[in-house]
Symmetry: D2
Subunit: 458 residues, 4 copies
């Protein structure tokens, strides 16, 4: 029973169900535009005042839930405009002097993007803070470092947390750069060619807190680079969050049993109270897909589009809004979830002490005594094979055995341990306690400086 097929969708071109979200930006832009028109003598002061008062009343209506959104008016701009006529009469028509829908939409999206980035930076900051706090609170906890999901070398849990601190720092930088590209004022571009009025674009930019004005009107109305920048930065950030989520899922498994996530971030089976499904980490990982998808969608929309405005550009919004709605909560959830991590330290330690992980340290021991690295590597390899044949771990072999493989060994080799291995990695960026302590200090200083993350130009 095909329900829909003879109905032609009446609302195919309608965007009001999602672009009403831009009401605040739309009104702010109109207010700034009206004031400038009056300053420049293009409209009378009284007219501007009337327009501004009308717009502010409309904003209040919207925020009070008293505004009637009308689908037949299609978008937020027409809804606000029509209401302004209701409220102040024909003078409302003067607001549209020296402005077109095309530069108005571009302005609204840039204003919104700036706010979205500011919020995102706060979310990143919160997660970075949670990582540093967790690192500091567990500063001496040892765990295996993995390559290929195989234990490779012992590291500090704090060092592992700080790896994500670094990734998120790059994310913040990327969003700040996206901010700067969004932070350019397009009004005055008209439909595509500029406007034939003596407007003052710079003053509008100043009033709306923009750092610059767009340099070419045709570019200004067809440019959505600032959204591509946001999407690209979001996709990279979700890569990082998905990697972390994957680790949280693995660490929560019966097999790893490294961590316990807080009750609010797992769903138990009531029948299996020990079961703690890491649902929130899984959802975070899963949401990576839609963020990648929205990036692809916008790239597709823009590919091969001739200048200047084409209605395809209406499709720049929903994916963007959804990315905003996914990214910020994911950052918040991850930050809150990190705070709830409890470590099963004993499991972490035991895993870190599995014998393999010290083999490179033993090779490095020989190198320190003058043997070329590749030769040391070969000898430890033979020693390991010997240990496997004997059913022992490397550190359970007696000194005599070591010495049979190389005369460079003496009893100091028996001092090689997970802790000595960690201490030895005492280079900038390494996992030695001192290095990690310093890294935590530096991280805290960064968070401090960055403590009011309100966007690059505030």
């Amino acid at each position: 029973m095909p329900l829909l097929v003879n109905k032609i969708p009446s609302n195919y071109a309608v965007s009001i169900h999602y672009d009403r979200r831009l009401y605040k930006q739309d009104i702010a832009g109109s207010v700034a535009h009206a004031r400038m028109l009056a300053r420049q003598g293009i409209i009378a002061d009284g007219e501007a005042e009337s327009i501004v008062r009308g717009l502010e009343a409309i904003r209040e209506e919207i925020e009070a839930g008293a505004f009637l959104w009308r689908e037949e008016l299609e978008d937020v701009h027409m809804n606000v405009e029509r209401r302004l006529f209701d409220k102040i009469g024909d003078v409302a028509g003067k607001l549209h002097t020296a402005r077109s829908r095309n530069d108005q939409v571009a302005l609204d999206m840039r204003l919104y993007t700036r706010e979205a980035i500011t919020d995102t930076l706060s979310g990143i900051h919160a997660l970075r803070r949670a990582l540093v706090e967790k690192a500091e609170a567990n500063a001496r906890v040892v765990m295996p470092g993995y390559t290929h999901v195989q234990r490779a070398q012992p590291v500090l849990f704090a060092h592992h947390m700080l790896a994500y601190f670094e990734m998120l720092g790059r994310d913040a930088e990327r969003f700040q750069q996206a901010y700067r590209r969004a932070d350019v004022m397009p009004l005055g571009s008209g439909a595509l060619a500029g406007v034939p009025y003596p407007i003052d674009r710079e003053s509008v930019a100043r009033e709306l807190g923009f750092s610059a004005i767009t340099a070419n009107s045709m570019d200004a109305v067809s440019d959505r680079d600032f959204l591509l920048d946001f999407h690209s930065a979001a996709a990279t950030c979700m890569v990082h969050l998905s990697r972390f989520a994957e680790e949280l899922v693995l660490w929560s498994s019966d097999e790893f049993a490294f961590i316990r996530l807080g009750d609010d971030y797992t769903t138990g089976s009531s029948m299996m109270p020990q079961k703690r499904n890491p649902d929130f980490a899984e959802i975070a990982r899963g949401k990576t897909g839609r963020v990648f998808g929205h990036l692809v969608a916008l790239l597709t929309v823009l590919k091969g589009l001739p200048l200047t405005y084409n209605r395809d550009l209406q499709e720049d919004k929903e994916g963007f809004f959804d990315t905003v709605d996914v990214l910020l909560p994911t950052l918040q959830v991850m930050a809150a979830m990190v705070a709830t991590i409890e470590l099963h330290r004993e499991n972490l330690r035991q895993a870190a002490e599995s014998s393999n992980v010290l083999a490179t340290d033993i090779a490095d021991y020989l190198v320190a005594r003058g043997m070329p690295f590749r030769q040391a590597h070969r000898i430890v390899s033979e020693l390991s094979s010997h240990a496997v044949r004997k059913g022992k771990k490397l550190h359970e072999l007696p000194l005599e055995t070591y010495c049979r493989f190389s005369p460079l060994f003496d009893e100091s080799v028996l001092g090689i341990s997970v802790l000595s291995s960690i201490e030895a990695r005492d280079v900038p960026g390494g996992t030695a306690f001192a290095q990690v302590e310093r890294a935590i200090g530096r991280a805290k200083a960064i968070l401090e400086t960055d403590s009011a993350p309100q966007g690059p130009n505030d």
Copy 2:
């Protein structure tokens, strides 16, 4: 002012705002399950009756808008279940015998996908019909065929329309194949391992109109291939629609001026009444992006996911629903818009007669008289250059000139025209009138057979 950052989103895992859309499928599945449990003696007949009556009452409540959806219950399944307890008491708990959330969700999505495909097939059918009708109504209209957006050879407008008829025929086939893969009943797979009750899966499948049951419980609860199939088919279909939309945009331009789209599918500038922006075609073209994006999103979600159910799979729904919500209206809009196309026949004809497009026919003329094709090609090339130098079109050259270039020319060469060119392409699939007439006939027959496009197994 970061508004959101200290609020941990309480609804991160909630899906009720989109999965309530599955209520009909969810209830139908539960009804079939309850009846089977009774038939198998797993629950009493009276219990089943009570459950079924309760579920049907809930469906009515929902459809009457009287159902209170509760976000704290997270999803459609728990909302329905809780309401059933309210209505019929503890016996409601028996519904969940021999079933888990995992196979229930898989069932609901398969039921929904089948309906979405049925609707899509109707939409494709409607557009194919509109294309054939437009072709038939303009069966002798000539236009240039293009390669590289350069006029190449004359074709019939009807032939061009039928190219899209073919593409959409493949789309229909692809959706029918996707239907068959969705049309497999997963219930009875339990959480992942099957269920320890003497259920009758085949009878549930029959009751719900499924052609088969799933063969492996672990696969059944983690399989989303049927959604990938839908997304892939949708992406390919949107490729076709975007190509058509692009052509409608070009043909509507002042430069081509080949067609006039109906008022409902263009937005004029009120100031420029002649201006007819093809907004609907542009929106259709733009919406291609989100369909590609949702495909990428689902592929990303599934990539590298271990068996069986992981919460990431919750992310299978919103993109899918949006694809459904985009594809069907786009098909409908295109069908309705095609019906409004008015041809500027004179412009089409003039464009088709630009001299170049007959050069290949002149070469073929020589070949028909025994000259190897490549040599004929060379001679026509020289002839064309000569014509360009003289400022003439090929068909304006006198016979003597032709004969200077080859003795094979006689006055019959002067009979080469746009119409003769078209007539000459009298091979299956070619643009000759007879071939196109036959193709229209075949197309109508296909639509006839296919006139009740309710999904493959209805």
Copy 3:
């Protein structure tokens, strides 16, 4: 030091470095075309013979490595054509009668796609066989089934393997359907409008083993759906392989320690002989990315492209060839790797016996005695909590404890075990021994029928 910037790339439009790969298809298509031209009297028999002999000699030259590919001729078609002139003189020019580059390219790609699919089907068949053999050889090995990477219920290892058998069966079906859409002969479409010669398209189709001819010349030269079909099927198949690869990586970890992959499919660290990095599984998982990417690339190329041929379509080849080059070896590697899997049965069994996984069986026990499922669920939940408080597993609790929670328990509850749990899932698709044995039998029968997987129409 910008090395490249003043050099304009001379070979930007050249495709010979990748499209030479089509030489066999190109020559086969030309041979069939020449023979048909002679049969139809369009060229003389002797001319056709000369052309065919020339082409076959060229094929031999190419296969002997004696052919000089010339970049300035840009593509495989011109390279072969020019060489044919060298070999047989001007009659070579007759080959191009009633054919254009556009339908020739379409033909070559369809011929190639058919072969690629045939090979892919063989690869899928080989992997399915390996899975069934591994399942059969370990028919009674028990392991935990997972949801959320948390142990949930015991299953048979064979059941888990057969989940992949099912996925790959759908992949095969999808490729067969793609085959049928590729299996349509486009020659005779000319540049876009058909050809003005009395050709016999059906006979060319028969000679080249095609099932049908294309129905519309404009569609035929601009259609790349058959490649989208291949890419979509490949992307879905890689989803399956990436999921399996992920499981192999996890199962190879120290923490799971479920399997040992053969030496050829791991790279050890020579220093840590126990370390067995599952590199091949990781590469397989990683290669998923490029297959998704090539799908996106082709969708992007096609989006919004007006009819008929545009040079953008040249971009249909490299990504496709790379997908072919990735997919088949990945299937082969996976098949060979599966054969080397050794199970650590004891680890699998111990993991399967962790107490949680029997909780649902205990609830089902109560349901079987008449309790509503949700109530049974609640009681087992309380029982589990009690066990956790006592530090016991469920099956270590004495019968008296059970009875305190419900009078429906008797000593038969103590018989619930991993094996009884598995046996109980005795529904079609379930993990019970009998069901899995039957599934193995069915799988073998499928492979048997399908034993000569040479493509749908052979």
Copy 4:
């Protein structure tokens, strides 16, 4: 006949066919590492000298084409290492002190990325220069500005060119930011945990021209953000190039007939000498697909990958190299092609003068006389409808007609023309002659400053 199915691919893990491209970076990194080891006393000065001489000899061998690449050694690193042993014996083994394959690969890719960006910046610079030169050489050429591919308002051709200048300026900024993130030195991170030697990471960074060292070893070996940055910037840049390519294709059509592209950038049909297929623009547009695809591929590879190194990361290279190989030539081809554009000025002018495009100017005329914009808009709308009914263009109406619609009109309205319209848009970013002249001047100054585009830190 499935050719390949029983052959297990022996080279599935081999990367030498593409990563040999990193030889220069690999050797440069090793030289810097060896010198540092000697400076720090970790190896002897003579050993370092021997290693450096050996490596330089190997580089010369490679560049002379005399190096035998061995597939069985799998990658560039092992090929170079093995050859070094051949040349200098066991001391070669000392090079690998305090270094692992993981940080070595990360280093090589960062070095290569820096060079790729430097080249890309040169390519962008060249195209921007070509745009400015073309703008300046045609500074007073008028054309229609389009929205919805409908003529909307007259603009200067130069203004249109400068829109692309702006887009490419953002591209350059984006690549410079990507450069800075690539410009961080990872060596010293070891396999994942840092190295147990007293190395001097800062001095290695200085020697290799890096601005900073990585701050966390686990991040350093698993981070591929710098490649995501490159891919994202490349995708956005290709969006711009595809838009320009689309316009060049349209403008080259018979219907627009605005431009003539140079012979080197079109392929004619020899039979239709006037036909000039814009193949290079089409290929550029088509190549957008693969760049998007490679971005998706890398995102997919990285999604959900646990720390630190996993073999999936090997898949970071081929797509990246291909993006480099596509982007730079595309920029070069576009730059060279732009230089060949010849304008059909008369066609451009006529198109710009089609009456519609002045309607907004007439409305603005009324607004300038005090009428609210929306009312002016309505009146011009009525006037236009009247003109259409009369079969006239707006500027062909007599003054009396104007005055019937509004008393504000006087004869000055007859002075509204394409040129007056352009002159009137005299705001920053507008299309007025003075504004565009100033924009050209600014663009030239930017190119001047930026004249040695060798990467941010040179």
